[in-house]
Symmetry: C3
Subunit: 486 residues, 3 copies
């Protein structure tokens, strides 16, 4: 079966461009009549967004009369804006890595998920997530709610004289930086459930993750009143809060979905190579660049620590890439490019939790260990019969947990290996476990409800065999090329 050459495939594509304008309304009407269909229903989740939007034209407060803007105020806000842009650029990196490491027949689906997911994340985090994560406490110390007024919806972007005097971040840039992080958590899920999940179900899960699960989890540490923050848990830029939360949510999805057809033959994992390593490599380098927003930006101001964090981040990535390359060379006899990619990413995830407080050699070592772990983690996940198409668990889950624990070992002031006892390591372990438990529980509940309401998360077997691009999107990523069936 060669989809690109099959005229039947070409004919049945329902292409929007073909729809004449005059036909559109009647198509619309017939669709609305068919709205009880669960696939269409999932899309309706977006409607409240529109309604709130229409009702709230005047939310944006006029700027108060401000004193002269101080250099510190301007520099801090400029740096965080740039850092936000770099983190948002990571969406391109994730799209290219995930698409490149999957098969050609599912490329449109993965690209579409990664493209729409930031649009969804931005909307959901703006409407509910941000206030949930950083608002006033409702359940003291556990659940937060209320930033932006009594309803806690949207947020108040007004800049006050106090902010200017203190050189504080304005609400807009703080939101932008945080929403970029929220989007990252959702893109990680995308990799774990790739090549078999229905598009609509992924969309709804992303909305729930970014609107509720991630903000509640995040508030435990990054809201000053959070219980893990008060316990002394350290996660500087989100090895656990962003990466392992996304990975836990995703691996639950991967387990519920089951492996792709052909992944396990007689219980033995089969290699299913990615279809485009050029874009996967590009994606890895874009993510590396984006991490210079992720980690140094998490200083949340411009000061002398910011470039130091950029250096530890660089050394972590370098160590991770070298470790995974050497490791794949030793085990398989040849350096595996996809392992180099995942090793760099695991090094980056690993360094993230403690990047502000490692020595440079420790940073390199933390990355190096992350790169080693990713290789073994891929083998373990295969052995456990779980299908993680792009290695997202190994990068973000294993890498994230390692990064969280590494703080307990290498932190300059509290690390075990610097003679400070097991105290911090224990706290890190508690934090890693608490996030794992919460994310798994919340994800299982969400995936389960979604599955129950929509008649299953997984596409049909014929659709999976043919590829989700035709089944879910009615189009191909590379229609002008002869492709190999698989």
């Amino acid at each position: 079966m060669a989809p690109a050459n099959n005229p039947a495939v070409r004919q049945r594509r329902p292409r929007l461009r073909d729809a004449s304008l005059l036909e559109a309304p009647s198509i619309l009407a017939s669709q609305i009549r068919g709205i009880q269909h669960p696939r269409t229903l999932t899309w309706l989740a977006c409607i409240p967004v529109a309604l709130f939007g229409l009702g709230l034209f005047n939310l944006s407060a006029h700027a108060a009369q401000l004193p002269e803007l101080t250099p510190g105020f301007l520099i801090n806000n400029l740096w965080l804006l740039i850092a936000s842009i770099l983190v948002i650029f990571m969406n391109a990196g994730f799209a290219m890595v995930e698409a490149g490491l999957c098969r050609q027949k599912n490329a449109v689906n993965i690209l579409a998920k990664n493209l729409i997911v930031f649009a969804l994340a931005a909307s959901a985090y703006w409407i509910i997530g941000y206030s949930l994560m950083y608002g006033e406490p409702v359940l003291k110390g556990w659940l937060f709610f209320g930033k932006g007024g009594p309803l806690g919806l949207f947020f108040d972007p007004a800049v006050t004289a106090e902010m200017v005097k203190q050189g504080a971040l304005v609400p807009s840039v703080d939101f932008l930086f945080q929403v970029a992080f929220a989007g990252t958590a959702a893109t990680i899920v995308s990799g774990l459930v790739a090549e078999r999940i229905k598009f609509g179900e992924f969309v709804v899960f992303s909305l729930v993750l970014v609107g509720f699960v991630y903000p509640i989890a995040g508030s435990w540490k990054w809201n000053a009143n959070g219980w893990l923050n008060q316990l002394g848990f350290i996660d500087f830029a989100g090895s656990t809060l962003v990466h392992s939360v996304g990975a836990w949510a995703g691996i639950v999805g991967a387990i519920i979905l089951g492996p792709r057809i052909g992944k396990f033959v007689e219980g033995k994992a089969q290699a299913i190579p990615g279809h485009n390593l050029a874009i996967a490599t590009l994606g890895c380098l874009i993510l590396w660049i984006g991490w210079y927003g992720f980690n140094p930006g998490s200083v949340l101001a411009m000061n002398e620590t910011v470039p130091y964090v950029a250096v530890t981040t660089t050394l972590g990535a370098a160590g991770g890439g070298i470790a995974a390359t050497i490791c794949s060379q030793i085990i398989s006899g040849k350096p595996d490019l996809s392992m180099t990619i995942n090793g760099i990413l695991a090094g980056l995830v690993g360094i993230t939790a403690g990047c502000d407080a490692y020595s440079m050699p420790a940073a390199w070592v933390v990355g190096f260990v992350g790169g080693l772990l990713v290789v073994f983690s891929v083998a373990i996940i295969d052995r456990l019969g779980i299908d993680d198409p792009v290695g997202a668990w190994s990068v973000h889950g294993t890498g994230g947990i390692w990064g969280t624990l590494a703080v307990g070992l290498f932190n300059q002031e509290k690390g075990l290996l610097l003679g400070n006892g097991f105290g911090q390591l224990g706290i890190q372990l508690i934090g890693a476990l608490a996030y794992g438990l919460f994310a798994v529980a919340a994800a299982w509940l969400t995936w389960g409800l979604l599955s129950a309401f929509s008649g299953g998360l997984r596409v049909s077997e014929p659709e999976e065999l043919e590829g989700l691009d035709i089944g879910e999107h009615g189009m191909e990523a590379y229609p002008d090329f002869n492709t190999v069936s698989g």
Copy 2:
């Protein structure tokens, strides 16, 4: 016909690398003898550039003795430099979106156009466009000329003590930011005339557009003395000035050229799918990133508004992407990735004119409507028998006009929906119409003259069928792959 496999095709490629150095002069001589050939002639338009360059070594003034650089001066100029770089990065985004949404056989041509066009734009806008747009008035209020001295050619980059004291932008960074915008207008044209225009004719049109048409149009609003500026027309970052001007210029080209062979069969539009949705998606995300320079940079200084504009821009993109995806889901039953791409872009174009003065919910709604309109616009353009291969009109034309009118509806201080009457909306309508009329007239004249002088804008039918990559460039984009004829 499978070009990549056809040995004849491979043989007749005139490859520069094959030309030995010793043969080059004689080839050159024979080419010069053949210079009456219109295709070669078009290239000669570049020669004045070289001549001016050689004659003006000393134009760059030595910096005056400057007072100590103030933080405000440094921060403003740093921010605008970064914003310029982000906007210039949009060239990569346009190249990937346009190439990805066209066919494989024309990929080299589209890539070549998008790559050379910024080099041409930078040269033309430097030599003439910038002074035309921002110089002293010649025809009071309508046509401007003269920045950089009596001739008005090039510009004076000297930094004065006054600029430092006021924290003003230096001429260099102002030029860089403006030239990046000028380049954008030209790349939009590229999409509308794709897959059938001769390379040389596109090159000359771009030079005229960036050197004359765009700067004259731009001066109406962005030169402080411009008539539309004095009328109260609002276009903060260029929904009309950049995007719809480029789209009007391009659609005239598309109409003159006529549709691609096979686009309309018995009057009905046929879907001609893009050849590489991976790079198209990447391009969309690069453009999204670049827009953080385009819109927040248009504040032309660093202050508390800049990150707010970044937020409204984000929400506009999110709204647009969600709208187009839902709309394509409803109409065709499946979410169309190319619609998500164009929806995000239309959301971004739509938000551009008023991004500094919308509430956040209004920003999301403006983007959402832009995303809806792009879907219907594509259908209308098809119905009208116009062939817009990548949807550039629907994104930049429809989106740009919508964005301009949206200011009259949603602007916090002057919008109709905020209880301010029809005044601003009327002015916005006048502006949108004036730009449309001027751009259409100028483009029709330019395309017409070009066509008359060069024996037609369009490649021959056999060349179009074979693909412009072979015909115009003698090379293929993906020679190692088996491609499907089309």
Copy 3:
């Protein structure tokens, strides 16, 4: 032979993902027994890195008590951080250009080299290169050593009150900017030796280049005590120090390796087209963007010169792209996209040495000449029987030498064409020659030793014919596509 379709090829891929965790230790053990094999040995060069890392946890000094951070200090360090990120982004540009301009069957190999090389460069330059280049003099005026303490290994990132008061760059950001440059030199080599070198041998050469050759050469000019600096040699941002050093090192490798099979038939150079011009074009635009860090960042502070350098850089790129396009149009009758790409890059390399002190017209002309030279250089290299698969010599070597000499012609204060005599031109010539001699000698020694120890730098003939992706990495870049044998 069509690798992608050959089931035998698919079967014998040794994929790490297939290796079960339980088998890994025994594979490891058998590998360690086989460690006398020269291919494995080369990897061991990385082990000292790990050892040093483990032994030096406490190197990172605690920050001294700092005075309040001044705006100048913050702005300078913020700008250099951003510039560093832009230069590091160039790794993505090089990866895409080089991979795109090579054949599909070697794509994984080129991507892997470009991905791992920055990880290696960051490690090697951190451990030894940086202190060698910028440390205290050991051999007065020629060889430097010692930054970061008596051993000179790693570097001391401590920020002092003195740095804050002077608005100086902190050591972290200085290192980050310098290491990004060091990585660039190594990626240039990658292009020249592409499609035939063994992976491990390239890795070791890169370590030597970044750890020793580049830093020693760099210290001559960029260490204040360097002999070429004291002689008055000008190389503002590295036309010679980075680009031509990398190109000289690479061309020695290309000569020693010999041409690819099929490149010369009866002494005549054959065109071997690149496999993916979409990513090559993307790479060119990413490099253009990255150059806004490379050149303006080399001001090493934020001031009014920075945006001016961004403008001269833009004009250089524009001139180079236009020249190469016109030139290829004249010689071969059609504009060659790969020439436009290389012309833009040559314009950028050319402008690099003097970008701070040219008039704008001179900047355009320097770029234009660079773009012309690249076309003729490609023809000369072919005529000389040297195989430079992606034109890296012509871009970085020819372009770099031209850029260095252009300073002697066009520099506003010292250039010959501005009436200043031959003095500076002579110094530039001395510098260009000295760097060429040193780089050739060092590279010849290194490649020679490597070849002697590892049984040859070049892969076997069957491996080269089949492609290095299978031979060196056991995987393909595009396994889902039907590819053309070649």
